[in-house]
Symmetry: none
Subunit: 213 residues, 2 copies
DNA sequence: GGGAATATTCCC
DNA sequence: GGGAATATTCCC
């Protein structure tokens, strides 16, 4: 039943997130600690799936040099791989985590990601990778950034940024709409076929019965 | 595959957590908003399981007065019920959420919980239940939009107009998206029924033919 | 890419 | 029971 996402608990187990109380400021010398579950799971996943199959059926793997990894098939990765290691099947949530831990997407064409401390055969330095989120305590981001400038310009720029984002979202929404409409069309076509099938079936059935009588 | 936790997305769907931007101080008059997913799911779960079976096999139900609920069998609840509604099967995580939303355990002998605003038949006031966590950071959202300044003006207004339009279009697109998604869901349901119908028809047809021979 | 809300886990 | 870290979602 709930086996789905227990797999990893066993594999990684012992998941003592000691990270919390290690106390102290940022900029410490790289201290060994237990890596975040996300990193461990992603690493495990690569170890387990990287050598799988021939290249043509590969879903995800280390890159050739072992300095990063590539998701070759985001669709299969999301549907098949993610739920085996995480509590979801959303590619974007996975990406969100990668960003949180400072991974960089290094190609606009492939889903290839790198992090200096995330490399094949180097499980022992995963503990040095930390979440970005710094100083949650301090003032909100918008106050931080605007502090240095005499604005007038800055709020203008912000506006432009917001504008930019809105336009982008808009574009995406329209694309999404198109996709949804296509899905609906497909559905309708299928429905039609099913209905046809059903009616043909009924006809032929009647004929058979008639003949048999 | 990952169906496990998709069940509810459909049921509750539309999961617009609008809670965020309603802005403002605490102690407002009870404002209607979309209830937190956790509350909705817990409510649904009770609606769906409360009347199940005879008392002896009941896992969870509203209490007699409908003013709270009882988990009769934490073990079964954890193993069977939780994963159908949430992304986990840990009783303690469920309890943690109850505490976060201010529920009280009202008996040391039974797992019975109450919240003033969580009662049988009162789905409409779930939106008044809020997380405890107050004032995580001092400055509320409305400070962000310190918009009405004496800034450079003329092209600014044009900009604002465009902005306004964009936002509106955006809102509409989202509404449209929702409608399209609902259409798709309907389509899928119909497809399912058609397929079922077809398969039943084939079965019964085979039987008839068999009898006639 | 990332801010921020909610969910889940871990720990006291 | 609740603080706090991490995970997941939602949104820009």
């Amino acid at each position: 039943m709930a086996d789905n996402y227990n797999v990893l608990e066993l594999n990684i187990g012992l998941g003592n997130n000691n990270n919390s109380k290690v106390g102290g400021h940022a900029g410490q010398s790289p201290r060994q600690r237990c890596p975040a579950p996300f990193l461990l799971k992603t690493y495990e996943l690569l170890e387990e799936l990287s050598e799988n199959e021939k290249d043509s059926t590969k879903i995800v793997s280390w890159n050739a040099e072992g300095t990063g990894f590539v998701v070759w098939s985001p669709a299969e990765f999301s549907e098949l791989t993610l739920p085996r290691y995480f509590k979801h099947n959303n590619f974007s949530s996975f990406i969100r985590q990668l960003n949180t831990y400072g991974f960089k997407k290094i190609s606009s064409k492939k889903w290839e990601f790198k992090h200096e401390k995330f490399q094949r055969g180097c499980r022992h330095i995963l503990g040095e990778i930390t979440r970005k989120k710094c100083e949650p305590s301090v003032f909100p981001a918008y106050l931080k950034s605007s502090s240095e400038e005499n604005n007038a310009t800055s709020s203008m720029e912000e506006n432009n940024d917001h504008h930019q984002l809105l336009m982008e979202e808009n574009k995406n929404l329209k694309k999404e709409r198109l996709e949804l409409q296509m899905q609906i069309d497909e559905c309708k076509t299928l429905e039609m076929k099913l209905l046809e099938c059903l009616s043909q079936f009924m006809d032929s059935h009647q004929n058979k019965v008639r003949r048999l009588c």
